[in-house]
Amino acid sequence: MSLAPGWLKMSMCKPFAAHMRTLRTLFRVLLVAAPVLAEAGFDPRNGGPGLGRPAPDYQGTIVSGDGSGLPQGSSSAAQGEAIFALRCAACHGVDGQLAGNSLVGGIGSLATASPLKTVGSYWPYAPTLYDYIARAMPYNDEKSLTVDEVYAVTAYVLYLNRIVELNQVLSDKNLADVNMPNRGGFIELQE
């Protein structure tokens, strides 16, 4: 792809893309046969190996604070209680308050000598709670919860923190709207 100047890429159609694949193969041969690239100094804007394969349908699993990337699904804390007891409580306690691994409490403690950072007192965004549970929990059995189970556990942790109601349904449509107590608690040091 990198062989094509910008104006060509804008109007690229399928037969032309096939043509470019041929060109790219030729380029690879040239790359092996004549290692002039390094001597000339490499600038990808002038054409590089161009070995990236188009991945137009790649969705990824990254969920951002604004809720972008959330998969379609929904559940509530009422659904999450049993899942939490079975899959989470061993490390976090049935009430989510096992010392050292606490998910609950600490609101008002951040400016004291013993701040307690939890989902309730510290996390600024609810969608990234979904993201973290989906990718990294439960420990040693990561990514084993279904989408709706992750919404359920997310809701239950928020419920333990009195941020949502027991039967409040959370989904990809409304998780970003959950009002996290410490949302305004951060100073961003980059742009």
Partner: protein
């Protein structure tokens, strides 16, 4: 040791300089000298044959210090580099510190890909073998865990080695592809300001990198000190963000999502943010502060003779190049400039050295680094005052070693 070097000996604060000069150069009146006759087995018989992959001498007794994991998550722990046993500036691959959030994945590179997607003209997927064909760069960089030296933020000083206390720091020659090559190939949208990096480990480590950094020195690192990355360092590929907290150099890199906003992942909000005394917290505080420490003499060593010693250590700064390091032997009352032994490189470890005469006086050895921007390493008290009393990230206070009159070296707070 010639007369000029002896004249550089630091005033320990306990003895006048003239008295120091009168002391004997080595302090060892007697010595045990082996005979010239070949008597050892290794001089009389053939040694071991060649090997596929070399190992250090068993007599060197090199090992990382295990700093343990969470009791419920033993693979979510760390090990630290034994700084006190090393010299020069390069961290051997086998002794590079480790910090994992869910263990070290055993990745088959044939089944691993790197995908760039999000706000790009063309989402692209690369195989490991594809990336090996790209032009690469080689740079020496330090890598420091955000939580390095956190034990020195605790109320009571722990009697541990330099490595146990401060060994979540490394310096290696990293070789890889400048990230902007791949960003250019995918075609980044004008609105894109952040690159979200995701790892392929079970923890799926995810961090947001500002585009300004991504287009500058950030690379997809494939080689570490000349060989493919070690599994514990991200094999087959890791992001490398020079000068910044280690966590953002995402290991086992599997995707890069380009977007206008940060992702605000758990690892850059709930963790790796610095709580301030007022209860607010700093986010995306990426660059590591100017810092140094003496690696010898250091904690849990014992000086077993009086005489000349070389005080030596390491200095670094996330802001660039180390301009100077000063050493004190009297707990910070007086300071002497050390010799920077390695050619100081930007964002890499710099070795410093200074001769010191120990005649049995109780001493406190310290080092204090200054970087190219004129930033000076703070005292412990100053470093702690920046953050919440419970804070432990980005601690860069001066390390103090007490040398007792018996020669026992111990971590202390000054």
């Amino acid at each position: 040791m010639d007369q000029d070097s002896i004249n550089q000996v630091i005033d320990g604060g306990l003895l006048p300089r003239r008295a120091l000069l009168k002391a004997s150069a080595l302090g060892l009146a007697t010595s045990f000298v082996l005979p010239a006759r070949a008597t050892e087995n290794w001089m009389l018989h053939a040694g071991e044959p060649q090997s596929d992959y070399g190992q250090p001498s068993p007599f060197a007794r090199l090992k990382r210090e295990q700093t343990g994991g969470h009791p419920l998550g033993p693979a979510a722990g760390s090990s630290s580099t034994p700084l006190q046993d090393l010299n020069g500036t390069i961290t051997p691959n086998s002794l590079h510190f480790e910090r994992h959030h869910s263990g070290i994945p055993a990745i088959d590179p044939r089944r691993h890909t790197l995908t760039l997607y999000g706000d790009v003209r063309q989402p692209l997927q690369f195989r490991y073998e594809d990336l090996l064909a790209y032009p690469m760069e080689t740079h020496q960089y330090f890598l420091e865990c955000s939580g390095n030296s956190f034990r020195n933020t605790l109320a009571t000083p722990l009697d541990l080695t330099a490595g146990s206390l401060n060994g979540l720091i490394s310096n290696a020659e990293w070789t890889g592809i400048p990230l902007h090559y791949l960003l250019d190939e995918a075609g980044v949208a004008d609105s894109a300001r952040w690159v979200i990096a995701e790892g392929a480990d079970a923890a799926g480590m995810t961090r947001s990198v500002p585009m300004s950094l991504a287009l500058d020195k950030v690379m997809i690192a494939l080689y570490q000190n000349g060989e493919p990355l070690r599994p514990a360092q991200g094999y087959p590929m890791r992001l490398f963000v020079p000068g910044c907290e280690g966590n953002i150099s995402v290991k086992w890199l599997r995707s890069l999502k380009i977007q206008a906003q940060p992702a605000y992942t758990r690892e850059e909000t709930s963790k790796y943010t610095e709580l301030l005394p007022n209860g607010k917290a700093e986010m995306f505080s990426l660059a590591m502060g100017v810092k140094s420490l003496i690696t010898s003499p250091s904690g849990r060593m014992t000086l077993n003779r009086k005489g000349l010693y070389e005080v030596t250590g390491l200095a670094w700064s996330g802001a660039g190049t180390i301009r100077g390091v000063e050493v004190s032997a009297d707990g910070g009352i007086s300071w002497e400039p050390a010799v920077l032994q390695s050619d100081p490189r930007p964002l890499a470890l710099t070795r410093f050295r200074l001769p010191w005469r120990w005649v049995g006086q109780s001493s406190i050895l310290q080092s204090r680094a200054t970087d190219e921007q004129g930033q000076v390493q703070p005292s412990r008290a100053t470093a702690l005052a920046r953050y919440s009393p419970a804070g432990f990230y980005h601690y860069n206070g001066i390390q103090s070693w007490h040398v007792s009159s018996a020669g026992v070296v111990k971590n202390v707070y000054v």
